[in-house]
């Protein structure tokens, strides 16, 4: 790639520079405390995250995949059980189901890239135990419809909120829209730490108690092991960083929404752009446009210094890993069409208006 990048797809150094003094202080405070696992800084972040999201419990874990995996484990979902999720997602939405021994049942998505509730209902069988709606791109899935289906069939709703921290749906935050939710705090997320990290939220006291065991070797206290568990903890230092960033999150998300608005306004006549419904606030982890001339547009944008990505070019049902599930090309026409037509444009709070306008102009010059 000889082209000079004018607008990088990500640039985490910009955010770091803005809050460097606070992050450095947190590094020093945690470092000097000598306590790098669990402890007061983790608990403080968990309290604030629970309050921010509007739930009784928030638990730090090692990563967003573990957040989903541990909830399925806590529910004793396993061999013979089915869990429904979207085929247009990051692969972890499906492997967490396979990892507990259950069968992922994949469902196509709608125009908003989120799981289509009508297809969810059609996929329910007597073996179905849970639904994992994915709030893709930072936009809440149609939770009213999904919750109604879940209630009708007695299913557990586990939000895959990895991309959607801070987003709202009918006045509530993601993470408070189902029975439990898993968030990712991966560095590239809207609230990202500097390594792997994740968060589970729930209002269910018993579930939270079991998850506290499962994430820390099943330990009731130092010397007593109640159940055999895992080691999946959010590092204390990362929790301290996350707590600092949580204070900025709404402001950052507001800026992302503003950038999204500039993109949408500037590009609606050239490409398919995402549309916010009146009842929702998408936080635009990704801003995904669609065009039939996807590959040519990506090349054109790169030539104009705009770095882009595709989330995701191969739907889960067409991955090698999913072969044993027996899906084939043509099973999920929307996801397959989007996989060939989607482009994610750069979007992060630190992008300047000039950069955003450069992206708009670069797309427009192609058409």
């Amino acid at each position: 790639m000889a082209e000079k990048i004018v607008v990088p797809f990500v640039d985490l150094a910009r955010q770091f520079r803005g809050i460097e003094a606070e992050l450095t202080q947190a590094f020093l405070d945690v470092g000097r405390s000598g306590g790098y696992i669990m402890g007061a800084r983790l608990e403080s972040f968990e309290r604030k995250a629970a309050e921010f999201i509007g739930v009784r419990h928030a638990l730090g874990v090692a990563d967003g995949s573990d957040a989903l995996f541990l909830v399925l484990k806590a529910l004793d979902i396993g061999p013979g059980d089915e869990v429904i999720t979207a085929t247009n997602s990051f692969i972890a939405s499906a492997w967490v189901i396979a990892a507990v021994g259950a069968t992922p049942v994949l469902v196509d998505v709608a125009e908003d890239f989120n799981i289509d509730p009508r297809l969810v209902e059609a996929a329910v069988t007597p073996r179905t135990k849970a639904i994992i709606p994915v709030h893709l791109t930072g936009r809440a899935a149609p939770m009213d419809e999904i919750n109604a289906i879940a209630q009708k069939h007695g299913l557990f709703v586990l939000e895959d909120a990895a991309q959607a921290i801070g987003a709202r749906y009918r006045g509530k935050r993601t993470g408070a829209l189902g029975h439990a939710a898993g968030f990712s705090l991966h560095p590239l997320k809207n609230l990202g730490v500097y390594g792997d990290g994740g968060l589970i939220t729930t209002d269910d006291d018993a579930l939270a108690a079991k998850l506290r065991l499962l994430r820390n070797h099943g330990l009731r206290n130092r010397d007593e092991c109640e159940i055999w568990g895992f080691n999946s903890r959010l590092d204390t230092m990362q929790a301290a960083f996350a707590e600092i960033k949580l204070g900025y999150l709404d402001g950052w998300n507001t800026r992302c929404r503003k950038i999204a608005n500039i993109y949408a306004t500037g590009l609606a006549d050239c490409v398919q752009v995402p549309v916010d419904q009146a009842w929702e606030e998408c936080v635009y982890h990704n801003f995904v446009i669609r065009t039939e001339r996807r590959d040519a547009l990506m090349t054109h944008l790169l030539e104009n210094g705009v770095d882009t990505r595709v989330h995701y070019p191969i739907p889960i049902h067409l991955q090698d890993a999913a072969k044993h599930l027996g899906y084939k090309l043509g099973d999920f026409p929307n996801a397959e069409r989007y996989a060939k037509t989607m482009i994610s444009l750069p979007i992060y709070p630190e992008l300047s208006d000039a950069e955003v306008n450069h992206v708009v102009a670069a797309v427009r010059s192609f058409f």
Binding site: G34, A62, F69, P187, Y194, N231, I314, D320, A321
Partner: protein
């Protein structure tokens, strides 16, 4: 179910609580400038996920262990779990290990779907090969020896048993970085060896971390898939897997410590020898046999003591962080109830758990502090 609080495990007690502490992290952190600079560099490059520092620490770790592959993962527990998974161990399989270990050894076996089968320990706190042989069934798939406290197990005998019965050896080497057995490094002892970088390990990072060592190309390839979503490229998922990666920023810390590992190890050995020398004359204390052909690296310095609980209390009252690792063996844990064991099933393990005490021997302990510990123990026994 009882409500579980976010308890702060005793081993993470904040520095300053006691004068002579197991936790040395406050002292270690004094030397943080270079690490913070490198972490900032990782942030600037956005090199977070399996970044170049992870590649480098894997190469360096493999080199000091004399193995072909080292694979950084999320924790020592995950190292064990992923190794079992890489070997295809699952429901219906049995894995033989010791009941005298940390919870994670058993947790990894159970969460992998297999059944832990216990073989009692010997007087050196490590698994007894003679007991292993008695526990083999047609369902046995692997042996998981634990190099407890940093002393390698009797590997020649264990390897002979494994070979005879066609079993894999997954070594729990979480305590044993830089330990050697008859000239072989800890990473070479087994089909796969699993290490922890937990903050209080001999080679530590500042959060959770672990690493797996193996000479098998095939297992290494499988482990690299298993730790990273089964991804063969950014967009191509070959197998449904897991997410368990050594953070790049923690790899920075690991490399910093790796450069000091000879000093850390030498200090621990010297401090342990000093305790051995002084405590040997106390009749109420039993020092385990020290062997010439193994290098024991003393992640824990443990001796067996008469009136152990009283001695521990006395030492703690006198500002010495004496600990018990651990008072309740695995077969007697509430979580093990389904295995149907009872007190008396593993007499050596039970005797160790009832009498062993750990004293701090890390590289920041001074001779004066050690002398104070020795005086206190002598005073206690009068």
């Amino acid at each position: 179910m009882t409500t579980i609080q976010n308890f702060l495990p005793e081993q993470y007690r904040q520095t300053g609580a006691l004068e002579i502490n197991h936790n040395y992290l406050h002292d270690q952190f004094a030397d943080h400038d270079e690490i913070w600079l490198k972490i900032r560099e990782v942030v600037r490059r956005g090199d977070f996920t399996l970044g170049s520092e992870v590649d480098l620490v894997e190469k360096e770790f493999a080199a000091i262990n004399g193995v072909k592959h080292a694979i950084g993962v999320g924790s020592g527990t995950d190292a064990l779990f992923l190794s079992l998974k890489a070997l295809g161990i699952d429901k219906g399989d049995e894995v033989i290990t010791t009941p005298y270990t940390f919870y994670a050894t058993i947790g990894a076996i159970v969460t992998a779907g297999a059944t832990p089968v216990f073989a009692d320990a010997r007087d050196d706190y490590n698994i007894d090969p003679a007991e292993i042989e008695k526990k083999i069934t047609p369902r046995t798939k692997a042996i998981m020896p634990v190099h407890w406290s940093g002393k390698p197990c009797d590997m020649e005998t264990i390897e002979a048993i494994a070979k005879k019965h066609g079993l894999a050896i997954v070594s729990d080497a979480c305590h044993a970085i830089k330990a050697t057995y008859k000239g072989r490094q800890a990473g070479e002892l087994g089909t796969i060896s699993c290490f922890s970088f937990h903050p209080l390990k001999n080679l530590n990072v500042w959060g959770d971390g672990g690493i797996i060592a193996t000479n098998s190309d095939e297992l290494a390839d499988k482990l690299r898939l298993l730790r990273n979503h089964g991804l063969a490229g950014r967009d191509e998922c070959r197998i449904f897997a897991y997410n368990s990666r050594l953070d790049t920023v923690q790899a920075v810390v690991a490399r910093h410590m790796l450069a000091k590992i000879e000093h850390i190890t030498a200090s621990r050995i010297a401090n342990s020898n000093y305790f051995d020398e002084a405590l040997r004359s106390i009749p109420q204390i039993t020092i385990p046999a020290r062997e010439n052909d193994v290098k024991q690296v003393y992640h824990l310095y443990m001796v067996r003591c008469e009136r152990r609980d009283d001695l521990q209390k006395y030492l703690v009252e006198n500002n010495v962080d004496a600990k018990v690792h651990y008072p309740v063996p695995m077969h007697l844990q509430p979580a093990a109830a389904f295995l149907g064991h009872k007190l008396g099933d593993f007499p050596v393990t039970e005797a160790i758990a009832a009498s062993a005490l750990s004293l701090p021997v890390h590289e920041f302990i001074t001779r004066e502090q050690q002398d104070r510990v020795i005086q206190l123990i002598k005073a206690f026994y009068g």
